[in-house]
């Protein structure tokens, strides 16, 4: 699911201490923080240290750097939704009891460890209630619904037993041809 994409004044007040107004307003990322169900975005890479109340993670592979429970993890360059890493899944696996959607949208993200561009498939996990944790939205390359395969405003729980959206993964399909 790739729905949220907005900035909140409340968030701006919270984040303003960490980041300049300019970088805030020009940022691309998005997070959902707090238990308050307020989508607070974009975060302008302000979520570099992850989400409050969410413990940091690593992949355990230095070739796959960063924190999969943080919005700025390299694979999430075109993600939009709740990060499965924060919801009982991982960056490439769905939480227990959900079904991974076979129909996805695709991004091309650069891995900072090897400098290569990877094709990332943003498979949604479906069938349970929305996770509500670690909402992350990055709209680089997003295009309106008229180009659905590049659109993140659509509920991509398609081809699954239920269209109820739970969270989103970022699965490596391979490296991109230049």
């Amino acid at each position: 699911m790739k729905f949220i994409d907005q900035l909140t004044e409340k968030f701006s007040r919270q984040i303003a201490m960490k980041t300049s107004r300019r970088s805030f307003l020009t940022g691309l990322g998005g997070t959902l923080i707090g238990g308050a169900s307020i989508p607070l975005l974009p975060v302008a890479r302000a979520a570099e240290n992850g989400y409050p109340g969410v413990a940091t993670q690593t992949t355990g592979n230095i070739q796959d750097p960063g924190d999969p429970s943080s919005c700025d993890y390299w694979r999430y360059c075109a993600i939009d939704g709740f990060l499965c890493s924060c919801c009982g899944g991982t960056q490439n696996a769905c939480p227990p009891g959900t079904e991974m959607s076979p129909i996805t949208w695709i991004g091309t993200c650069q891995n900072p460890a090897d400098g290569k561009n990877y094709i990332i498939s943003y498979n949604d996990c479906c069938g349970k209630s929305a996770c509500g944790r670690c909402l992350c939205n990055r709209n680089e390359g997003d295009r309106p619904m008229v180009r659905p395969q590049a659109n993140n405003d659509t509920n991509w729980c398609l081809g699954t037993a239920s269209t109820s959206y739970t969270c989103s993964t970022a699965v490596i399909l391979g490296t991109a041809l230049e």
Binding site: D5, I38, G127, S129, R138
Partner: protein, 385 residues
């Protein structure tokens, strides 16, 4: 255990005996508020998507002009529902999806009909096949035909199609395949246009009985790669004004059942362009106020991907003269905007706290903020038409 019904009766028995002449009177139950069948044009419908539990989405009816009692009532709108209103019948429509066990089990899609006076679901048309397109709420997933007879429901599976429903007969008609096209823009009495992946629009010709006749494609004019049209637009008379990511306005004449692209123009001065002012947000544009203006939500320092960031200002344009007539700074940021259709237009803005800021659209004065949990995530606002 004494049942509570009898307990209430007992309490009432005691009390009525004690009522003195100057006591506040006993109040009748049950007591349920009703609304006028025809709503004020100062009212809006705010669609609360409720991201944390989308099956709990709803449409909240709000009087944005009143000094008090702004919240008039609500209707269910489950799982990325679509919403539209009849302009000739006292009815509201919401296309929704339900599962027999909340988020799993058997799926049913329905087009529910709500009575304006009671906000009760008075009827529903079942939409077969589990095809209803579920997206962030747009105004163009579910629309009424120009003559207010047919509802068009956008399907996405990801194959695109449109279901036609006769809302007078409350009867499902045919499903039209609309490959490569998305969103619905009525034109003429019964036709509708769609934006299509090849960069043009297509008009789907529907006859007076609701039967599909044929498809007409325009030339390509939408640069989806580099400067795409938003799917949101402001409609003023018979012209749809679509903004683009980079701040152009693409007018499309939607008249007599056709769609005709007109000359595009930019809302930006060279200085503003240099500062990368761009439209941004969810419903980034609205129009149709009594002055024939459109309102567009703008942010500076735009970059690729900032087209949903919201904005710090609303710019007001006269589309005839292509001039900016007003700038309305938003003290609390803006995500989605709408302008009411009544004599005094009210600019209503879903702000950065997901409250609604209401401005006098003619003066830019902030009149009130409607919040307190009235909606959780009101990403879409529909003025009463």
């Amino acid at each position: 255990m004494t049942t509570l019904k009898s307990l209430v009766a007992t309490a009432c028995f005691f009390c009525t005996g004690a009522l003195a002449a100057d006591d506040l009177p006993v109040e009748p139950t049950p007591n349920v508020v009703t609304l006028p069948s025809e709503y004020s044009k100062d009212w809006i419908f705010a669609q609360d998507l409720n991201f944390v539990e989308p099956v709990g989405g709803k449409i909240v009816v709000l009087d944005v002009a009143a000094d008090t009692r702004n919240y008039k009532g609500a209707m269910n709108a489950s799982l990325f529902a679509s919403f539209t209103q009849s302009t000739t019948r006292p009815e509201l429509y919401s296309a929704q999806t339900f599962y027999s066990r909340g988020t799993y089990g058997d799926r049913i899609d329905v087009l529910a009909i709500y009575d304006t006076a009671t906000l009760s679901p008075v009827d529903e048309i079942i939409l077969p096949g589990g095809k209803r397109g579920q997206t962030m709420s747009t105004r163009s997933n579910l629309v009424m035909s120009g003559n207010d007879r047919f509802a068009f429901v956008f399907n996405f599976t990801p194959a695109a199609s449109v279901q036609i429903v006769d809302m007078v007969e409350r009867k499902l008609l045919e499903e039209i395949q609309t490959p490569g096209c998305s969103q619905l823009y009525p034109t003429g009495d019964t036709n509708f246009a769609m934006q299509c992946a090849a960069g043009g629009m297509s008009v789907f010709e529907i006859d007076a009985s609701g039967a599909f006749q044929k498809r007409h494609d325009t030339e390509a004019f939408n640069d989806i790669d580099d400067n795409p049209l938003f799917v949101k637009y402001a409609r003023i008379n018979d012209v749809a004004y679509f903004p683009t990511f980079l701040g152009d306005i693409q007018p499309i004449e939607l008249k007599d059942g056709t769609a005709k692209p007109l000359e595009s123009w930019s809302v930006l001065t060279p200085e503003e362009k240099a500062q990368n002012w761009r439209p941004g947000g969810w419903q980034v544009i609205d129009g149709g106020d009594t002055d024939g203006l459109f309102y567009i939500l703008m942010h500076a320092d735009g970059v690729e991907g900032s087209h949903k960031n919201g904005g710090s200002e609303v710019w007001v344009f006269d589309p005839e003269t292509r001039t900016k007539v007003r700038t309305i700074p938003l003290p609390n940021w803006g995500i989605t905007i709408a302008v009411t259709r009544g004599e005094t237009p009210y600019l209503t803005v879903t702000n950065g706290n997901f409250e609604l800021d209401v401005f006098n659209a003619k003066t830019g004065e902030l009149l009130r903020t409607i919040g307190g949990g009235a909606t959780q995530h009101a990403f879409q606002l529909f003025p009463v038409e």
